[in-house]
Symmetry: C2
Subunit: 348 residues, 2 copies
Amino acid sequence: MKRLLSGIALVLAPLPALAAPPAVPEAGVTPGAVVAAAAAGEWRRIAPGDLVVMDLAPLAAGPAGASAPRRVVIQLIAPPFSQGWVENIRKLAAAHWWDGLAIVRVQDNYVVQWGDPDGDDPRKARPLPAGLRAMAERDYVVPVRSAGAGKTDPALAIPDGGSWASDPYVQGAAPASPAGLTGFSGGWPIAYLPRGPHEDGAGGATGRMVGEAWPVHCYGSVGVGRSVSPDTGTGAELYTVIGHAPRQLDRNIAVVGRVIEGIEHLSSLPRGTGELGFYETAAERVPIVAMRLGSEVPGLPAYEYLATDSESFARYARARANRKDDFFIRPAGGVDVCNVPVPVRRAR
Amino acid sequence: MKRLLSGIALVLAPLPALAAPPAVPEAGVTPGAVVAAAAAGEWRRIAPGDLVVMDLAPLAAGPAGASAPRRVVIQLIAPPFSQGWVENIRKLAAAHWWDGLAIVRVQDNYVVQWGDPDGDDPRKARPLPAGLRAMAERDYVVPVRSAGAGKTDPALAIPDGGSWASDPYVQGAAPASPAGLTGFSGGWPIAYLPRGPHEDGAGGATGRMVGEAWPVHCYGSVGVGRSVSPDTGTGAELYTVIGHAPRQLDRNIAVVGRVIEGIEHLSSLPRGTGELGFYETAAERVPIVAMRLGSEVPGLPAYEYLATDSESFARYARARANRKDDFFIRPAGGVDVCNVPVPVRRAR
């Protein structure tokens, strides 16, 4: 039953609407000021077990501070989107599987990728831990269902469609499909595609399907590298987005987390000169000293994110869509889901 | 009359539609394959006078190849969007004004900015060349008019609205405003906002206004840094986008070009640790050895871009919106304007 959302609070926070007239901007209120004024109770602590910490080898030489550690902190995505991949990543981190492996690919305006440089060579590849789950392409999306009899499950609080943002990457296959939407659920940017009446699945006592949802690729998103279909990857090969949101990857590859601190250690790496930005020599690769679950890292700060169902998050999203202050003279009146990064901070 | 488009071919290339059903993907046809197969006549040569070449000081030390030059090639935007800013940039480059100045700011997922580090200190600032034009906030957009009497100017070939992509950042202020659209014109990604009937401007013999258009901020876009409104900048302070498209800057700051080669020399720079990503010490700044008009650079290769009104560009945009090959299993059926980078190559 893992693919059904019954009992899981998928609370979808609205983005400023596309079709509706722009909301009246709160003049002079910047997104940063809204976040700074958020109440303590609107922040959610991230459990250390939901963090993965990757320490890269310090820069060998160069400008001042080059010998400082390069630490990247990744938050793992929450259920129901975590699927089996996040379980695999926890296993790999617990086994210290990534230690001594490397960043192998840096493609400009696209991704940084890391894993086993010898992964394609069966004689040299590092063995994977036992018990990793095999996932399927259907797991890229999470079915969303109603409580049956036309009544929406109270746990699935989808606001009125008009208060959501439509999005070019969220479309049904059939011409009569209702428009897809993007917003936030449980602290994550997601897409939601309702099914048209003619697309309703089998109903019955457990309720009928009302659509599907999936996490989207934004700057800083972490995903599971894979080979060609139907392979979906184990989670051993990971990547982070370092450019404009490659939304074409949505529903084609698993999003399993996001970088919440230290992304500059990835985004500022020299670009690879090989095909797809792969480093051409072993010397160019950036060694991974250690990659650990946050619960295994002594002295790791506590982190928290701004709840996406909070009033402050709604004001923050409106402010992102309606920049109006001493600098911004003409608010756009809208924003795309990847231009509303979920605020994350060290806990106070 | 510079603000009217009469006689200027503003040919708007369609993006795959948002509301229409997804086009049937051409299975196995990748965007790269479409571009590689484009006919020679579909490419447009970029005049050397429309290029600016910025040479950064080589890396002082470090990995192999670190002493190679760091050359960034920028294409200046075409009329009618060039306005007076591009004229100013040509004057500044001809005066070798940037030589010896520096990159002063690198903010992750946002911009790299360069100019005079002492620009805010009147005693130390480098004097600007005489005759730079002062531009106004109204110049961030270009009015688009019809030929009068309800007849669209043949030079303004706006396709049917249904074949364009609506966009959250392109909205009119009034509730009844028609939806704005994004697409391509003359090789550049632009937004176009028609005016509603009640917003029609003064008419007369020269025709009535039908809307306005402006260039949009995508990865690699080059814009004119400025202070708070109503300052609009001269063009002496420039920036390049190195992250997710900051579309909130559209209509708030001037887009004057794009990086067509060497953006990795900007996007991989160490991030500044000061406020807004400014470098905190002079030692961190990256010196500009020279910045020149392309017509002044000996041995510069010729560049060309794929005409955005060509059949191959249309196929390329459709392929970007409908990725379907050995890797992509589920085409999105849509794409945002900044995820369709205009192909540019060295001329063959």
